[in-house]
C-alpha cells in the first residue's frame, strides 16, 4: 500500500537538515526507514514531509576515543553486528544486533533510528540504557547529551524535540572485570521481541557484584530499568536464589501486557528466565576478564 503523499527532502549536510526541521512538527526524520516506511504504508502514521538524512555520510562511523565508544547515528545495525571495534569491546552489541529483525532489514536499519523510534519492542534502547550510554542530539542551538533515563522519556517518544537530530551514541567502555549481555525471546524468526533483558555489571575482587544495570525490552510501554533487581544483586554472588530474587523484582517492576505475540503471564515468565540468563552471562564475562 502507498503512504499518503508527503514532501521529500534529502539534505547532504547537517546544517541543511537542521534548516528543514522545526518549522512543522509533522515533518519527520527518515533514516533507514525500516520502521517508519512500514508505518507510513500501513497509514498508522502520516507525515507532511520527510527529511531523509541518509545522505549525510558524516553520521556513519564507529570510533573509540579513550574509554568511550562513539557510534554515529546512521551506522547500520548490520555494521554493528560485524565491526571488529564494536564486537571486541562490546560483545553485547553484536548479540543484540544479530537478533534484530533479519539480515536484509539490518542492512538498512540504523542505530539512530532504532533508538529514536523508541518502540518498546526495539532492542537497542535496553542495550544503551544498561550500558549507561549518552545520546547526543544537535539543533541550531547546539548539541546536548542525554542519558537513557531521560532520553527514553515516555511510551514510543524520546526527549528529542522536532528541531533536533540524534547524531551520536556514546557508550562508556569500562576496563577491568566488567561484562554485559543481552538475552531475548521473540515470536518466530525475525519476529518482534516477547521480552528482552540487557545487563551490564562489574565484579569485585571477592567475586561479588559491585555495580549492575539491567534494562528490559517489550515488558512495558517503554524501555524499563529494573532498579530493585539491580539493588538486590549488589554485594552478592549470583547464586540461583539471588538470581531468582532479582528476577522476581524485575518481573514486579515490569508492566507486561498481553498482545498478539504473547499473553501477560507468558511474557512475565519469559522475563523471569531472561533476567537470570542475562545477569549470569554478564557475570561470566566480567569474571573472565
Amino acid at each position: 500500500m502507498y503512504p499518503k503523499s508527503f514532501d521529500y527532502f534529502s539534505p547532504k549536510s547537517l546544517g541543511e537538515a537542521l534548516d528543514l526541521l522545526g518549522t512543522d512538527p509533522e515533518v519527520k526524520i527518515l533514516a533507514g526507514g525500516q520502521s517508519l516506511i512500514p508505518s507510513l504504508k500501513l497509514r498508522a502514521l502520516s507525515v507532511k514531509g520527510l527529511v531523509d538524512i541518509t545522505g549525510i555520510k558524516e553520521l556513519c562511523y564507529v570510533r573509540q576515543e579513550g574509554h568511550v565508544l562513539k557510534i554515529g547515528a546512521l551506522t547500520t545495525v548490520a555494521f554493528l553486528e560485524n565491526d571488529q571495534t564494536v564486537t571486541s569491546s562490546l560483545p553485547i552489541m553484536r548479540e543484540a544486533a544479530e537478533q534484530i529483525a533479519d539480515p536484509l532489514v539490518r542492512n538498512r536499519g540504523t542505530i539512530g533510528g532504532n533508538l529514536s523510534h523508541a518502540d518498546p519492542v526495539n532492542d537497542l534502547p535496553a542495550v544503551t540504557l544498561a550500558l549507561n550510554s549518552s545520546m547526543v542530539a544537535i539543533s541550531k542551538q547546539g548539541t546536548r547529551r542525554m542519558g537513557g533515563d531521560s532520553f527514553f522519556a515516555e511510551a514510543s517518544h524520546t526527549a528529542l524535540t522536532p528541531e533536533e537530530i540524534l547524531i551520536e551514541v556514546e557508550i562508556p567502555v569500562q576496563e577491568g572485570r566488567v561484562g554485559s549481555a543481552y538475552r531475548k525471546v521473540r515470536k518466530g524468526s525475525g519476529g518482534f521481541s516477547i521480552a528482552g533483558v540487557a545487563s551490564c555489571l562489574s565484579v569485585a575482587n571477592d567475586g561479588t557484584i559491585a555495580q549492575c544495570r539491567i534494562a528490559m525490552t517489550a515488558v512495558a510501554p517503554k524501555v524499563l530499568r529494573a532498579e530493585n533487581a539491580e539493588q538486590t544483586l549488589l554485594g552478592k554472588m549470583p547464586t540461583d536464589s539471588v538470581l531468582d530474587r532479582a528476577a522476581e523484582l524485575a518481573v514486579r517492576a515490569s508492566r507486561a501486557s498481553s498482545d498478539l505475540n504473547a499473553s501477560r503471564e507468558y511474557r512475565r515468565s519469559i522475563l523471569h528466565t531472561l533476567v537470570k540468563e542475562s545477569v549470569s552471562a554478564s557475570y561470566e564475562r566480567a569474571a573472565a576478564q
Partner: protein, 161 residues
C-alpha cells in the same frame, strides 16, 4: 521528483512521486517484474534486490531514496541468456516449488556469496531469515545455496560481477 539511478547496468532517469516504493517503480515503471511483492509489510523478502551491493527489501525503501544508487535485480544476473551460477544451482537442486519467493531467495544468495564467508548450516539458515517460503521448501533452498557456492568455486570465476 527527479530520480536517477542505475539498474542492472542501465542508467534510468525518472520523475517519481516521493511516496512510491522502490519495488513499485522497478515493477511498474521499468517493467522489472521479476522482483515480487509478497507481503508488502517488510516481512517476506520476495522483493529483495541489491542496492549498492547490499541485499535489502525494496518494499521498505522509497524510490527517491535510490537516487544515485546502483541496483541489481533478478533480471540482471544472467548474461546473454546464460544463467548465473546461483540461478543454475536453484534449478539443479530444485530450490523452488511455486517460485514466488525465488527471486528474493536468489538475490539474498547472491549477496551472501559476495561476502565470501564460511557459514555453517545453522548460520546459513539464519542468513535466510528475512526470506520466507510459504511452500516450506527451505531444505532445497539451503541445498541450492550450498550448490551455488560450490559452482562458483569450481568454476573459479567471480560470483559477483
Amino acid at each position: 521528483m527527479r530520480t536517477r539511478f542505475r539498474v542492472n547496468g542501465t542508467d534510468v532517469d525518472l520523475d517519481v512521486e516521493p511516496r512510491r516504493l522502490l519495488v513499485s517503480v522497478l515493477r511498474e515503471e521499468l517493467g522489472l517484474t521479476g522482483t515480487h511483492i509478497g507481503c508488502d509489510t517488510t516481512n517476506c523478502g520476495a522483493c529483495t534486490v541489491l542496492v549498492d551491493g547490499k541485499a535489502i527489501k525494496s518494499c521498505a525503501m522509497l524510490a527517491v531514496q535510490a537516487d544515485g544508487a546502483e541496483i541489481l535485480t533478478i533480471e540482471g544476473l544472467s548474461e546473454g541468456g546464460v544463467l548465473h551460477p546461483v540461478q543454475r544451482a536453484f534449478v539443479e537442486k530444485h530450490g523452488l516449488q511455486c517460485g514466488f519467493c525465488t527471486p528474493g531467495m536468489i538475490m539474498t544468495s547472491y549477496w551472501l556469496l559476495s561476502q565470501n564467508k564460511d557459514w555453517n548450516e545453522k548460520e546459513i539458515k539464519k542468513q535466510f531469515s528475512g526470506n520466507l517460503c510459504r511452500c516450506t521448501g527451505y531444505r532445497d533452498i539451503i541445498a541450492s545455496f550450498k550448490r551455488a557456492k560450490k559452482l562458483a568455486r569450481d568454476e573459479g570465476g567471480e560470483v559477483v560481477r
